[in-house]
């Protein structure tokens, strides 16, 4: 059940993220970017965290019960930091561009295209 829910959540987030990233409005594109990162973080979580239900690094694991994978959570922690950094930088750049070009439409921000 959890697997199915996870797969659906990842799929829906990914679909919305790709759709938003392709929008002309750069703020929506930035939000799509962050959604895509969330989708991938959930995907990483799904690869290992629910293999077992016992917390890692505990003693006295009962026979027949599997330990949850701690590495995926460390990976997500790193990926969240990275994505947060790039998201902040992206929003800062959109801020500069919107002030300089007076628009957040990616069609208007195209002085380099000639």
């Amino acid at each position: 059940m959890t697997d199915l829910l996870f797969a659906m959540a990842v799929g829906i987030l990914f679909a919305i993220g790709v759709f938003q990233l392709l929008r002309r409005d750069l703020i929506k594109a930035a939000m799509g970017f962050s959604m895509l990162f969330t989708a991938i973080n959930l995907f990483i979580l799904a690869t290992g965290a629910y293999q077992g239900d016992v917390p890692p690094y505990t003693t006295n694991v009962e026979a027949g019960r599997a330990v949850s994978d701690p590495l995926v959570q460390a990976l997500i922690l790193t990926a969240v930091v990275v994505s947060f950094g790039s998201y902040a930088l992206l929003l800062g750049l959109i801020n500069i561009a919107s002030r300089r070009y007076g628009s957040v439409d990616s069609d208007d921000i195209s002085d380099l295209k000639r």
Binding site: L36, I40, V82, S86, L93, A97, R100
Partner: protein, 503 residues
């Protein structure tokens, strides 16, 4: 096989230099930051050279972070390929810092410039040295974010626009890299490349691993601006501050190449054939697209950026042929191209810094001949010869290696096409030389004011000296490249040296 501190020093010397320079001010008068960075750059270059010598003499070196054995701990591996690319990156970095010391650009006087420059180099060297895919992703992202910030503060008024374009597209590439890495982890339960290679070599291929291979290939192609993913590259490399665009166009695009070489020789050796067919096709298209676009563009730096697309095409073509000699040719080509392209971009920056408005657009800089010191034109002539592959420069050695490997493989038509595109290179390089450095326009015809002083030509001269040296004395590089390919074609060496637990 103990821990070798040089492997980690090549990553951490630029990092600590970057952090340390943050303590000092950076203005036009007080250049403490730049001199400190120069010292850091010299140390990085020396360390990388020592590492290369050690790797060539004693075999691949490793460093286990925290002394935890892989695949549980993160391991840094310097085999021939990584060490060779490390020397390339660190030497061009030294050239870039040398240029920055006397650069008149306004963005060079921001206190964040040199630290970000060094952090970018940290990401670059780290991505080359790491033996762990997730760490590769983190270093890659460090590199991307630092270079985006540097382009956003560029003197060029289109800097933020190019940076915005790049962060969105490169962010997409990074996402697919991460997704591919996650899929690999889901399949093999490891992030260590050697461990993955071991499992891939023995077991069958689940569908998830194959799609991970496709995603990694796409991400690497995007990072090295190969033809269908190239559209961000000319904007980004044109608007970047000159020392940075020299780094971007020569070294940073090679990280993607490095990833592809690792992919076809270490990880997906069985699927290599399919990937290589794709690379040959993209390479040939890239060569012609890059060369023709360079012919018709309006800006000197942009011309060189398009030319990079063409040159990367040559490297991909060689990787695609896949014979040992062709792979060696690809490595030689990648190594030689870095010095040529960085020096040429710096020369364009030197020309642009002499005029007001500061821009490398041909409508501004055409007809400046006689107003500029003759040495700039002379160096451009030498660099143009190198890029087109005229002896005695190192470009000739790389073109010769490409043609030789193609003929050995019986690929006549691609070889003829590839050599034919050298003529295009000759055309656009020497047309620029004629129009900019030889033509003497009357003062009233020029749309720009000439400034008495500009940036120094010390850095491009330094890099061109290296490329002349590599052209006259190519034997060591060719030998190292051949040894590298022997090592690459035998993945068990790489796997063995990592020292997997229980392996």
């Amino acid at each position: 096989m103990g821990n070798n501190p040089l492997v980690i020093a090549i990553v951490f010397v630029p990092f600590f230099t970057g952090v340390f320079t943050l303590l000092f001010s950076n203005t036009d008068r007080d250049k403490t930051q730049r001199y400190l960075s120069l010292a850091g750059g010299v140390i990085t270059a020396v360390v990388s050279l020592l590492l290369l010598i050690q790797v060539v003499e004693e075999g691949p070196q490793v460093y286990q972070l925290g002394g935890i054995q892989p695949p549980f701990g993160i391991v840094f591996v310097a085999d021939n390929l990584a060490a060779l690319f490390g020397v390339m990156a660190s030497t061009v970095l030294l050239g870039g810092i040398l240029y920055s010391v006397n650069c008149q650009d306004k963005c060079l006087s921001y206190p964040a410039f040199m630290p970000l420059f060094m952090f970018m180099q940290t990401g670059l060297n780290g991505a080359l040295m790491t033996g762990d895919l997730f760490t590769f992703f983190v270093f890659m992202e460090l590199m991307v974010l630092s270079s985006v910030s540097l382009v956003a503060i560029s003197d060029d008024r289109y800097g933020p626009e190019a940076a915005l374009k790049y962060i969105l597209i490169s962010g997409m590439g990074t996402l697919f890299l991460l997704l591919g890495i996650a899929a690999m982890y889901a399949t093999f339960g490891t992030l260590n490349m050697a461990d993955m290679a071991q499992q891939l070599a023995t077991g069958e291929r689940p569908l998830l691993a194959q799609s991970a291979g496709i995603m990694l290939t796409a991400a690497f192609l995007l990072k090295s601006a190969v033809f269908p993913f190239h559209f961000w590259q000319p904007d980004f490399h044109t608007t970047a501050p000159t020392p940075l665009s020299a780094m971007l166009s020569s070294v940073v695009v090679k990280v993607g190449i490095y990833g592809i070489i690792r992919l076809v020789t270490l990880l997906f050796t069985e699927e290599a054939q399919q990937i290589e067919q794709l690379l040959v096709l993209l390479g040939i298209i890239g060569i012609f697209f890059g060369s023709f676009s360079a012919l018709r563009t309006y800006n000197g730096k942009r011309m060189l950026a398009y030319s990079t697309i063409g040159q990367v095409g040559f490297i991909l073509l060689c990787i695609g042929w896949g014979t040992p000699f062709a792979l060696a040719a690809a490595i030689i080509y990648a190594f030689n191209h870095a010095f040529i392209k960085s020096s040429l971009l710096m020369l364009m920056g030197v020309v642009a810094s002499r005029i007001k408005p500061k821009s490398a657009e041909f409508s501004y800089i055409n007809g400046l001949g006689g107003k500029l010191p003759w040495i700039i034109g002379g160096l451009w002539f030498i660099g143009g010869m190198a890029l087109a592959g005229v002896p005695p420069m190192n470009g000739f050695i790389s073109k010769l290696a490409v043609a030789r490997s193609g003929v050995d493989d019986g690929q006549w038509i691609p070889v003829i096409l590839a050599v034919g595109s050298g003529i295009l290179t000759l055309t656009y390089m020497f047309r620029t030389w004629q129009n900019v450095f030889q033509a003497k326009a009357k003062p009233e015809e020029l749309r720009v004011k000439i400034k008495p002083v500009g940036d120094s030509v010390l850095a491009p001269a330094f890099l061109l000296t290296i490329s002349l040296f590599l052209g006259l004395y190519a034997r060591p590089l060719v030998d190292i490249a051949t040894a590298t390919v022997e090592q690459l074609n035998n993945p068990s060496i790489y796997i063995g040296v990592v020292g997997l637990f229980g392996g």
